[in-house]
Assembly symmetry: C2
Homo-oligomer: 236 residues x 2
Protein backbone atom coordinates (compact mmCIF):
# COMPACT_ATOMS: atom_id res chain seq x y z
CA UNK A 1 0.00 0.00 0.00
CA UNK A 2 1.45 3.36 -1.02
CA UNK A 3 1.03 6.59 0.87
CA UNK A 4 -0.77 9.50 -0.74
CA UNK A 5 -1.22 13.01 0.60
CA UNK A 6 -4.79 14.20 0.03
CA UNK A 7 -5.79 17.83 0.41
CA UNK A 8 -9.01 17.77 2.41
CA UNK A 9 -10.94 21.02 2.76
CA UNK A 10 -14.21 19.71 4.10
CA UNK A 11 -15.93 20.42 0.79
CA UNK A 12 -17.59 18.04 -1.63
CA UNK A 13 -14.80 17.94 -4.20
CA UNK A 14 -11.86 17.12 -1.94
CA UNK A 15 -13.92 14.43 -0.18
CA UNK A 16 -14.71 12.78 -3.51
CA UNK A 17 -11.07 13.02 -4.65
CA UNK A 18 -9.94 11.41 -1.38
CA UNK A 19 -12.55 8.63 -1.71
CA UNK A 20 -11.20 7.95 -5.23
CA UNK A 21 -7.63 7.81 -3.85
CA UNK A 22 -8.78 5.29 -1.26
CA UNK A 23 -10.60 3.22 -3.90
CA UNK A 24 -7.35 3.20 -5.92
CA UNK A 25 -5.62 1.54 -2.97
CA UNK A 26 -3.67 4.41 -1.44
CA UNK A 27 -3.14 4.86 2.27
CA UNK A 28 -4.48 8.34 3.01
CA UNK A 29 -2.61 11.16 4.71
CA UNK A 30 -5.09 14.00 4.90
CA UNK A 31 -3.91 17.60 4.97
CA UNK A 32 -6.29 20.38 5.99
CA UNK A 33 -5.07 23.93 5.76
CA UNK A 34 -6.48 26.67 7.97
CA UNK A 35 -5.63 29.58 5.71
CA UNK A 36 -7.68 32.26 7.40
CA UNK A 37 -11.04 31.41 5.89
CA UNK A 38 -13.79 33.35 7.60
CA UNK A 39 -15.52 30.42 9.24
CA UNK A 40 -14.41 27.21 10.88
CA UNK A 41 -17.32 25.11 9.61
CA UNK A 42 -15.30 23.62 6.79
CA UNK A 43 -12.56 22.54 9.20
CA UNK A 44 -15.15 20.71 11.32
CA UNK A 45 -16.37 19.12 8.09
CA UNK A 46 -12.83 18.10 7.13
CA UNK A 47 -12.46 16.30 10.48
CA UNK A 48 -15.75 14.44 10.00
CA UNK A 49 -14.76 13.47 6.46
CA UNK A 50 -11.30 12.31 7.58
CA UNK A 51 -12.94 10.06 10.18
CA UNK A 52 -15.35 8.67 7.57
CA UNK A 53 -12.45 7.97 5.20
CA UNK A 54 -10.44 6.23 7.93
CA UNK A 55 -7.31 8.19 7.04
CA UNK A 56 -3.99 7.03 8.40
CA UNK A 57 -2.99 10.53 9.56
CA UNK A 58 -4.73 13.90 9.53
CA UNK A 59 -2.55 17.01 9.82
CA UNK A 60 -4.05 20.47 10.18
CA UNK A 61 -1.71 23.31 9.41
CA UNK A 62 -2.31 27.03 9.86
CA UNK A 63 -1.07 29.67 7.45
CA UNK A 64 -2.68 33.08 7.67
CA UNK A 65 -3.17 34.08 4.03
CA UNK A 66 -5.42 36.87 5.31
CA UNK A 67 -2.19 38.83 6.02
CA UNK A 68 -1.93 39.41 2.27
CA UNK A 69 -5.54 40.49 1.73
CA UNK A 70 -6.86 40.31 -1.79
CA UNK A 71 -9.82 37.96 -1.24
CA UNK A 72 -13.35 38.13 0.14
CA UNK A 73 -12.76 34.69 1.70
CA UNK A 74 -10.02 35.93 4.02
CA UNK A 75 -11.09 39.52 4.69
CA UNK A 76 -14.29 41.36 5.60
CA UNK A 77 -15.15 42.12 1.95
CA UNK A 78 -18.61 40.81 0.99
CA UNK A 79 -18.92 37.44 -0.74
CA UNK A 80 -20.80 37.79 -4.07
CA UNK A 81 -24.32 36.35 -3.97
CA UNK A 82 -26.89 35.22 -6.55
CA UNK A 83 -24.68 36.16 -9.48
CA UNK A 84 -24.54 34.36 -12.80
CA UNK A 85 -21.26 32.44 -12.69
CA UNK A 86 -18.95 33.44 -15.50
CA UNK A 87 -15.75 31.36 -15.45
CA UNK A 88 -14.00 33.90 -17.67
CA UNK A 89 -14.03 36.43 -14.83
CA UNK A 90 -12.09 35.85 -11.60
CA UNK A 91 -14.36 36.67 -8.62
CA UNK A 92 -13.46 38.25 -5.27
CA UNK A 93 -13.58 34.82 -3.60
CA UNK A 94 -10.38 33.92 -5.41
CA UNK A 95 -7.56 33.64 -2.84
CA UNK A 96 -4.29 34.61 -4.52
CA UNK A 97 -2.08 31.56 -5.06
CA UNK A 98 -4.14 29.44 -2.67
CA UNK A 99 -3.77 26.17 -4.55
CA UNK A 100 -0.05 26.84 -5.04
CA UNK A 101 0.36 27.28 -1.28
CA UNK A 102 -1.77 24.16 -0.63
CA UNK A 103 0.12 22.02 -3.13
CA UNK A 104 3.48 23.32 -1.85
CA UNK A 105 2.55 22.22 1.68
CA UNK A 106 1.29 18.85 0.39
CA UNK A 107 4.60 18.48 -1.45
CA UNK A 108 6.55 19.14 1.75
CA UNK A 109 4.62 16.49 3.63
CA UNK A 110 4.79 14.01 0.74
CA UNK A 111 8.55 14.36 0.60
CA UNK A 112 8.93 13.97 4.37
CA UNK A 113 6.73 10.83 4.23
CA UNK A 114 8.45 9.40 1.17
CA UNK A 115 5.11 9.55 -0.68
CA UNK A 116 4.97 10.16 -4.44
CA UNK A 117 1.27 10.87 -4.87
CA UNK A 118 -0.76 13.97 -4.06
CA UNK A 119 -4.51 14.25 -4.64
CA UNK A 120 -6.33 17.54 -5.09
CA UNK A 121 -10.01 17.94 -5.91
CA UNK A 122 -9.76 20.79 -8.40
CA UNK A 123 -12.10 20.89 -11.34
CA UNK A 124 -12.12 23.15 -14.33
CA UNK A 125 -15.65 22.71 -15.62
CA UNK A 126 -18.27 23.72 -13.04
CA UNK A 127 -15.99 26.14 -11.26
CA UNK A 128 -15.55 29.79 -10.48
CA UNK A 129 -12.86 30.66 -12.99
CA UNK A 130 -9.92 30.40 -10.59
CA UNK A 131 -6.69 30.20 -12.63
CA UNK A 132 -5.18 27.63 -10.28
CA UNK A 133 -7.78 25.00 -11.14
CA UNK A 134 -6.79 24.60 -14.79
CA UNK A 135 -5.05 21.48 -16.15
CA UNK A 136 -2.13 23.47 -17.60
CA UNK A 137 -1.46 24.92 -14.15
CA UNK A 138 -1.48 21.48 -12.49
CA UNK A 139 0.90 20.09 -15.13
CA UNK A 140 3.30 23.00 -14.55
CA UNK A 141 3.12 22.45 -10.78
CA UNK A 142 3.92 18.75 -11.18
CA UNK A 143 6.91 19.52 -13.37
CA UNK A 144 8.20 22.10 -10.86
CA UNK A 145 7.60 19.70 -7.94
CA UNK A 146 9.80 17.08 -9.51
CA UNK A 147 12.64 19.58 -9.79
CA UNK A 148 12.06 20.89 -6.25
CA UNK A 149 12.62 17.69 -4.37
CA UNK A 150 15.04 14.92 -3.57
CA UNK A 151 13.05 12.56 -5.81
CA UNK A 152 13.72 14.91 -8.71
CA UNK A 153 17.44 15.08 -8.03
CA UNK A 154 17.75 11.33 -7.76
CA UNK A 155 15.64 10.78 -10.86
CA UNK A 156 13.90 8.04 -8.91
CA UNK A 157 10.13 7.65 -8.74
CA UNK A 158 8.39 10.81 -9.86
CA UNK A 159 5.88 12.79 -7.89
CA UNK A 160 2.40 12.81 -9.33
CA UNK A 161 -0.35 15.37 -8.77
CA UNK A 162 -3.63 13.49 -9.18
CA UNK A 163 -6.67 15.51 -10.18
CA UNK A 164 -9.37 12.87 -10.66
CA UNK A 165 -12.14 15.48 -10.92
CA UNK A 166 -10.50 18.00 -13.20
CA UNK A 167 -12.58 17.24 -16.28
CA UNK A 168 -15.83 16.27 -14.55
CA UNK A 169 -18.97 18.37 -14.26
CA UNK A 170 -20.21 18.84 -10.69
CA UNK A 171 -22.97 16.29 -11.40
CA UNK A 172 -20.36 13.75 -12.52
CA UNK A 173 -18.35 14.33 -9.35
CA UNK A 174 -21.44 13.75 -7.23
CA UNK A 175 -22.39 10.59 -9.13
CA UNK A 176 -18.86 9.21 -8.69
CA UNK A 177 -18.94 10.00 -4.98
CA UNK A 178 -22.32 8.36 -4.51
CA UNK A 179 -21.02 5.22 -6.28
CA UNK A 180 -18.21 5.17 -3.70
CA UNK A 181 -20.74 5.50 -0.87
CA UNK A 182 -19.66 8.93 0.40
CA UNK A 183 -21.92 10.86 2.79
CA UNK A 184 -22.21 14.39 1.42
CA UNK A 185 -24.18 15.44 4.52
CA UNK A 186 -20.78 15.67 6.22
CA UNK A 187 -19.44 18.31 3.85
CA UNK A 188 -19.48 22.11 3.93
CA UNK A 189 -19.37 24.03 0.66
CA UNK A 190 -20.84 27.42 1.52
CA UNK A 191 -18.58 30.50 1.50
CA UNK A 192 -20.82 32.31 3.98
CA UNK A 193 -22.72 29.87 6.20
CA UNK A 194 -25.09 30.79 9.03
CA UNK A 195 -24.32 30.37 12.71
CA UNK A 196 -25.35 26.69 12.74
CA UNK A 197 -23.44 25.97 9.55
CA UNK A 198 -26.50 26.17 7.31
CA UNK A 199 -25.62 27.05 3.70
CA UNK A 200 -26.51 30.52 2.41
CA UNK A 201 -27.74 29.03 -0.90
CA UNK A 202 -26.68 32.14 -2.81
CA UNK A 203 -22.87 32.17 -3.04
CA UNK A 204 -21.13 30.65 -6.07
CA UNK A 205 -20.24 27.53 -4.15
CA UNK A 206 -23.83 26.89 -2.99
CA UNK A 207 -25.16 27.56 -6.51
CA UNK A 208 -22.66 25.20 -8.16
CA UNK A 209 -23.48 22.53 -5.60
CA UNK A 210 -27.24 22.89 -6.15
CA UNK A 211 -26.76 22.75 -9.91
CA UNK A 212 -24.66 19.60 -9.54
CA UNK A 213 -27.23 17.74 -7.45
CA UNK A 214 -30.05 18.86 -9.75
CA UNK A 215 -28.21 17.70 -12.87
CA UNK A 216 -27.33 14.39 -11.21
CA UNK A 217 -31.04 13.93 -10.36
CA UNK A 218 -30.19 13.55 -6.69
CA UNK A 219 -31.15 15.45 -3.57
CA UNK A 220 -28.44 16.99 -1.45
CA UNK A 221 -28.38 15.25 1.96
CA UNK A 222 -26.96 18.45 3.50
CA UNK A 223 -30.30 20.17 2.88
CA UNK A 224 -32.14 17.42 4.77
CA UNK A 225 -29.73 17.96 7.68
CA UNK A 226 -30.93 21.56 7.87
CA UNK A 227 -34.56 20.74 6.94
CA UNK A 228 -34.21 22.73 3.72
CA UNK A 229 -35.87 21.98 0.39
CA UNK A 230 -34.01 22.08 -2.94
CA UNK A 231 -34.06 25.46 -4.67
CA UNK A 232 -36.84 25.76 -7.22
CA UNK A 233 -35.89 25.28 -10.83
CA UNK A 234 -35.06 28.47 -12.60
CA UNK A 235 -33.68 30.14 -9.48
CA UNK A 236 -30.21 28.71 -10.05
CA UNK B 1 8.52 52.71 -8.62
CA UNK B 2 7.37 49.08 -8.85
CA UNK B 3 6.62 46.84 -5.91
CA UNK B 4 8.67 43.71 -5.38
CA UNK B 5 8.17 41.00 -2.79
CA UNK B 6 11.52 40.00 -1.25
CA UNK B 7 11.91 36.87 0.84
CA UNK B 8 13.91 37.93 3.88
CA UNK B 9 15.19 35.23 6.22
CA UNK B 10 17.65 37.21 8.27
CA UNK B 11 20.59 35.49 6.58
CA UNK B 12 23.34 36.95 4.45
CA UNK B 13 21.99 35.87 1.07
CA UNK B 14 18.46 37.20 1.33
CA UNK B 15 19.75 40.51 2.70
CA UNK B 16 22.06 40.88 -0.29
CA UNK B 17 19.29 39.92 -2.74
CA UNK B 18 16.99 42.52 -1.16
CA UNK B 19 19.71 45.20 -1.31
CA UNK B 20 20.12 44.41 -5.02
CA UNK B 21 16.34 44.74 -5.53
CA UNK B 22 16.45 48.12 -3.83
CA UNK B 23 19.41 49.22 -5.95
CA UNK B 24 17.42 48.21 -9.05
CA UNK B 25 14.72 50.68 -7.99
CA UNK B 26 12.05 48.41 -6.54
CA UNK B 27 9.89 49.35 -3.57
CA UNK B 28 10.46 46.49 -1.10
CA UNK B 29 7.77 44.35 0.51
CA UNK B 30 9.66 42.01 2.80
CA UNK B 31 8.24 38.59 3.66
CA UNK B 32 9.68 36.61 6.56
CA UNK B 33 8.37 33.12 7.15
CA UNK B 34 8.41 31.53 10.58
CA UNK B 35 8.39 27.92 9.45
CA UNK B 36 9.21 26.25 12.73
CA UNK B 37 12.97 26.77 12.64
CA UNK B 38 14.51 25.86 15.97
CA UNK B 39 15.61 29.30 16.97
CA UNK B 40 14.18 32.78 16.65
CA UNK B 41 17.54 34.53 16.13
CA UNK B 42 17.09 34.69 12.38
CA UNK B 43 13.67 36.33 12.75
CA UNK B 44 15.23 39.03 14.96
CA UNK B 45 17.89 39.43 12.27
CA UNK B 46 15.21 39.71 9.55
CA UNK B 47 13.58 42.56 11.47
CA UNK B 48 16.89 44.40 11.83
CA UNK B 49 17.66 43.91 8.15
CA UNK B 50 14.17 45.10 7.12
CA UNK B 51 14.70 48.27 9.14
CA UNK B 52 18.13 48.81 7.55
CA UNK B 53 16.64 48.33 4.07
CA UNK B 54 13.80 50.76 4.79
CA UNK B 55 11.22 48.35 3.40
CA UNK B 56 7.77 49.64 2.62
CA UNK B 57 6.05 46.77 4.41
CA UNK B 58 7.30 43.77 6.40
CA UNK B 59 4.96 40.81 6.82
CA UNK B 60 5.84 37.86 9.05
CA UNK B 61 3.82 34.74 8.43
CA UNK B 62 3.84 31.53 10.44
CA UNK B 63 3.54 28.09 8.90
CA UNK B 64 4.57 25.15 11.04
CA UNK B 65 6.52 22.94 8.65
CA UNK B 66 7.71 21.02 11.72
CA UNK B 67 4.35 19.18 11.59
CA UNK B 68 5.71 17.24 8.63
CA UNK B 69 9.10 16.36 10.18
CA UNK B 70 11.84 15.34 7.79
CA UNK B 71 14.45 17.98 8.68
CA UNK B 72 16.97 18.65 11.43
CA UNK B 73 16.08 22.35 11.18
CA UNK B 74 12.48 21.81 12.34
CA UNK B 75 12.85 18.83 14.69
CA UNK B 76 15.16 17.73 17.51
CA UNK B 77 17.44 15.79 15.17
CA UNK B 78 21.09 16.95 15.42
CA UNK B 79 22.43 19.46 12.91
CA UNK B 80 25.53 18.07 11.13
CA UNK B 81 28.77 19.74 12.22
CA UNK B 82 32.29 20.06 10.83
CA UNK B 83 31.53 17.93 7.80
CA UNK B 84 33.02 18.35 4.36
CA UNK B 85 30.22 19.89 2.30
CA UNK B 86 29.29 17.71 -0.65
CA UNK B 87 26.62 19.39 -2.78
CA UNK B 88 25.78 16.05 -4.43
CA UNK B 89 24.32 14.77 -1.16
CA UNK B 90 21.23 16.34 0.42
CA UNK B 91 21.88 16.87 4.15
CA UNK B 92 19.45 16.56 7.08
CA UNK B 93 19.12 20.36 7.26
CA UNK B 94 17.13 20.25 4.03
CA UNK B 95 13.51 21.21 4.79
CA UNK B 96 11.24 19.39 2.33
CA UNK B 97 9.79 21.82 -0.22
CA UNK B 98 10.77 24.86 1.86
CA UNK B 99 11.54 27.15 -1.04
CA UNK B 100 8.38 26.03 -2.84
CA UNK B 101 6.32 26.96 0.22
CA UNK B 102 8.21 30.28 0.54
CA UNK B 103 7.81 31.18 -3.12
CA UNK B 104 4.14 30.15 -3.08
CA UNK B 105 3.52 32.55 -0.19
CA UNK B 106 5.50 35.29 -1.92
CA UNK B 107 3.39 34.66 -5.02
CA UNK B 108 0.18 35.06 -3.03
CA UNK B 109 1.32 38.37 -1.62
CA UNK B 110 2.65 39.59 -4.96
CA UNK B 111 -0.67 38.87 -6.60
CA UNK B 112 -2.63 40.60 -3.83
CA UNK B 113 -0.33 43.64 -4.14
CA UNK B 114 -0.39 43.68 -7.93
CA UNK B 115 3.40 43.16 -7.91
CA UNK B 116 5.12 41.23 -10.69
CA UNK B 117 8.55 40.74 -9.17
CA UNK B 118 9.73 38.35 -6.45
CA UNK B 119 13.32 38.22 -5.17
CA UNK B 120 14.83 35.16 -3.52
CA UNK B 121 18.46 34.81 -2.43
CA UNK B 122 19.08 31.23 -3.53
CA UNK B 123 22.46 30.27 -4.87
CA UNK B 124 23.59 27.07 -6.46
CA UNK B 125 27.34 27.32 -6.12
CA UNK B 126 28.48 27.56 -2.49
CA UNK B 127 25.44 25.76 -1.15
CA UNK B 128 24.38 22.63 0.63
CA UNK B 129 22.98 20.66 -2.27
CA UNK B 130 19.34 21.55 -1.73
CA UNK B 131 17.35 20.69 -4.88
CA UNK B 132 15.21 23.81 -4.57
CA UNK B 133 18.15 26.15 -5.11
CA UNK B 134 18.90 25.09 -8.69
CA UNK B 135 18.22 27.33 -11.71
CA UNK B 136 16.06 24.69 -13.44
CA UNK B 137 13.81 24.56 -10.38
CA UNK B 138 13.41 28.35 -10.29
CA UNK B 139 12.57 28.45 -14.00
CA UNK B 140 9.91 25.78 -13.51
CA UNK B 141 8.45 27.69 -10.55
CA UNK B 142 8.26 30.88 -12.59
CA UNK B 143 6.47 29.10 -15.42
CA UNK B 144 3.99 27.54 -12.97
CA UNK B 145 3.46 30.88 -11.21
CA UNK B 146 2.42 32.52 -14.43
CA UNK B 147 -0.23 29.85 -14.99
CA UNK B 148 -1.38 29.99 -11.34
CA UNK B 149 -2.42 33.60 -11.25
CA UNK B 150 -4.68 36.23 -12.66
CA UNK B 151 -1.70 37.76 -14.51
CA UNK B 152 -1.23 34.46 -16.29
CA UNK B 153 -4.88 34.23 -17.32
CA UNK B 154 -4.92 37.76 -18.61
CA UNK B 155 -1.61 37.29 -20.42
CA UNK B 156 -0.67 40.73 -19.09
CA UNK B 157 2.63 41.49 -17.43
CA UNK B 158 4.40 38.32 -16.43
CA UNK B 159 5.60 37.43 -12.96
CA UNK B 160 9.34 37.20 -12.59
CA UNK B 161 11.31 35.27 -9.97
CA UNK B 162 14.59 37.17 -9.57
CA UNK B 163 17.58 35.18 -8.29
CA UNK B 164 20.43 37.69 -8.47
CA UNK B 165 22.78 35.43 -6.49
CA UNK B 166 22.10 32.12 -8.16
CA UNK B 167 25.38 31.86 -10.05
CA UNK B 168 27.61 33.70 -7.55
CA UNK B 169 30.09 32.13 -5.17
CA UNK B 170 29.60 33.12 -1.53
CA UNK B 171 32.60 35.46 -1.82
CA UNK B 172 31.00 37.17 -4.81
CA UNK B 173 27.74 37.62 -2.90
CA UNK B 174 29.63 39.21 -0.01
CA UNK B 175 31.60 41.52 -2.31
CA UNK B 176 28.38 42.63 -4.01
CA UNK B 177 26.73 43.29 -0.65
CA UNK B 178 29.70 45.27 0.63
CA UNK B 179 29.58 47.41 -2.55
CA UNK B 180 25.95 48.15 -1.68
CA UNK B 181 26.92 49.10 1.85
CA UNK B 182 25.11 46.32 3.69
CA UNK B 183 25.90 45.61 7.33
CA UNK B 184 26.45 41.86 7.65
CA UNK B 185 26.76 42.21 11.43
CA UNK B 186 22.95 42.32 11.41
CA UNK B 187 22.56 38.88 9.85
CA UNK B 188 22.21 35.42 11.35
CA UNK B 189 23.38 32.42 9.32
CA UNK B 190 24.03 29.73 11.92
CA UNK B 191 21.76 26.66 12.05
CA UNK B 192 22.49 26.09 15.73
CA UNK B 193 23.43 29.34 17.49
CA UNK B 194 24.22 29.72 21.18
CA UNK B 195 21.96 31.41 23.71
CA UNK B 196 23.19 34.91 22.82
CA UNK B 197 22.96 34.24 19.10
CA UNK B 198 26.66 33.51 18.70
CA UNK B 199 27.36 31.31 15.66
CA UNK B 200 28.44 27.69 16.27
CA UNK B 201 31.12 27.98 13.55
CA UNK B 202 30.75 24.30 12.66
CA UNK B 203 27.43 23.85 10.84
CA UNK B 204 27.34 23.97 7.02
CA UNK B 205 25.97 27.48 7.06
CA UNK B 206 28.73 28.84 9.34
CA UNK B 207 31.41 27.04 7.30
CA UNK B 208 30.11 28.39 3.97
CA UNK B 209 29.96 31.88 5.44
CA UNK B 210 33.51 31.68 6.80
CA UNK B 211 34.77 30.37 3.45
CA UNK B 212 33.00 33.24 1.67
CA UNK B 213 34.53 35.96 3.83
CA UNK B 214 37.97 34.32 3.62
CA UNK B 215 37.82 34.09 -0.20
CA UNK B 216 36.59 37.68 -0.42
CA UNK B 217 39.56 38.74 1.72
CA UNK B 218 37.22 40.36 4.23
CA UNK B 219 36.55 39.83 7.89
CA UNK B 220 33.05 38.95 9.00
CA UNK B 221 31.66 41.81 11.14
CA UNK B 222 29.43 39.29 12.94
CA UNK B 223 32.52 37.75 14.54
CA UNK B 224 33.59 41.15 15.87
CA UNK B 225 30.11 41.52 17.40
CA UNK B 226 30.77 38.35 19.41
CA UNK B 227 34.49 39.09 19.96
CA UNK B 228 35.42 36.04 17.89
CA UNK B 229 38.45 35.66 15.60
CA UNK B 230 38.24 34.20 12.10
CA UNK B 231 38.75 30.42 11.95
CA UNK B 232 42.35 29.45 11.20
CA UNK B 233 43.13 28.54 7.64
CA UNK B 234 42.85 24.86 6.93
CA UNK B 235 40.11 24.32 9.50
CA UNK B 236 37.40 25.25 7.01
Amino acid sequence: MSDAVVLLSGGLDSYTAAAIARAEGFRLNALTILYGQRHAKEVDAARAVATWLGVDRHVEITVGLGAFGGSSLTTDAPVPKDRPIDPTEIPSTYVPARNTVFLALALGWAEALGAHDIFIGVNALDYSGYPDCRPEYIEAFERMANLATQAGVEGAQQLRIHTPLIRLAKSGIIRRGVELGVDYALTASCYDPGASGEPCRACDSCLLRAKGFAEAGLSDPLLARFAMKPLEEGTQ
